[in-house]
């Protein structure tokens, strides 16, 4: 299967957010470069989605569910950590916070993603250290 030539474009232009992400893939494009673009793309969009999520639900309740989680830092911690994140209790509470099934799923994913990051686990691609990207993000944040 081939996926080339192909392109993707995302533009946000309004007072709260200006963002341009464009990429074209040809047969000659290095697959690692494409993967790196998708990581950078997903970080921008998923971070913004989380910002909007925080405007839509009661984040205090979300923080309480995050704080109640057992640690998942060591191999020995993983079983109880996994039990917590996959429990139907957490899922139901997330759905209550989200107020509808769609937002409930997003709240649940947000909680689990946050817990994974806190424990140094890579549940998504945002933790991939792309040479140059970290430097650019620090510069953007003014660190």
């Amino acid at each position: 299967m081939t996926l080339t030539p192909a392109k993707i474009q995302f533009i946000a232009n309004y007072p709260a957010w200006q963002c341009i992400k464009k990429f074209a893939v040809t047969e000659q494009t290095d697959p690692k470069t494409v993967g790196e673009f998708f990581v950078s793309y997903s970080i921008s969009i998923e971070n913004r989605l989380e910002k909007y999520l925080s405007q839509s639900v009661d984040m205090q309740k979300v923080k309480e569910l995050i704080a109640a989680a057992p640690t998942g830092k060591t191999a020995g911690d993983i079983p109880s950590f996994l039990q917590y994140v996959s429990s139907s209790t957490l899922e139901q509470r997330a759905h209550t916070i989200g107020k509808n099934p769609h937002m409930g799923k997003i709240v649940h994913a947000y909680i689990v993603r946050t817990l994974f990051k806190q424990n140094g686990l890579m549940g998504d691609y945002s933790g991939v250290e792309i040479p140059g990207l970290k430097r650019l993000m620090k510069k953007k944040k003014g660190i």
């Binding site: 474009q9 998923e46 913004r48 989605l49 993983i78 994913a109 890579m122 250290e129």
Partner: protein, 136 residues
């Protein structure tokens, strides 16, 4: 440039175009929905390009085993997948070191890519997808 959000993807397996006009205050629910659309095939795309860099067969087999064991209540393989250790660490290493042009930082980057892939696939397999686009 128009005010709002524009998105278009033109891949053989991902064709979509959306536009959301925003004048004044944006509706968070509408924006969230559009951002999900803009990331709905990302996992598939990243997987496709990872596979172009090396065979993920050994990793995929370990993920399947870990999912089956997890469902029977055995967490040992799940731990190896989430931590990228044991058999999973051994499956990741040769792929991360497969390109002679890659130096230490590229090998580290590939290791992280593959760890993220394995964890993400495992979580998806136990019914907990962790990318927002996959929840659409």
């Amino acid at each position: 440039m128009e005010t709002g959000i524009q998105f278009s993807a033109d891949f053989p397996n991902w064709k979509n175009a959306k536009h959301l006009s925003i004048s004044g205050n944006e509706d968070p629910a509408q924006v969230i929905q559009l951002l999900q659309t803009a990331t709905e095939k990302l996992d598939e795309m990243i997987e496709f390009y990872l596979k172009k860099m090396g065979s993920l067969q050994a990793i995929d087999s370990l993920i399947s085993e870990a999912i089956a064991s997890y469902k029977k209540g055995d967490m040992k393989s799940a731990v190896a997948v989430l931590k990228g250790t044991g058999a999973m660490g051994k499956a990741i290493k040769p792929i991360a070191e497969s390109n002679p042009k890659w130096q230490a930082k590229e090998q580290k980057e590939m290791t992280q890519f593959l760890k993220a892939y394995a964890t993400h696939k495992f979580m998806q397999g136990i019914g907990l997808p962790l990318t927002y686009g996959a929840l659409k």
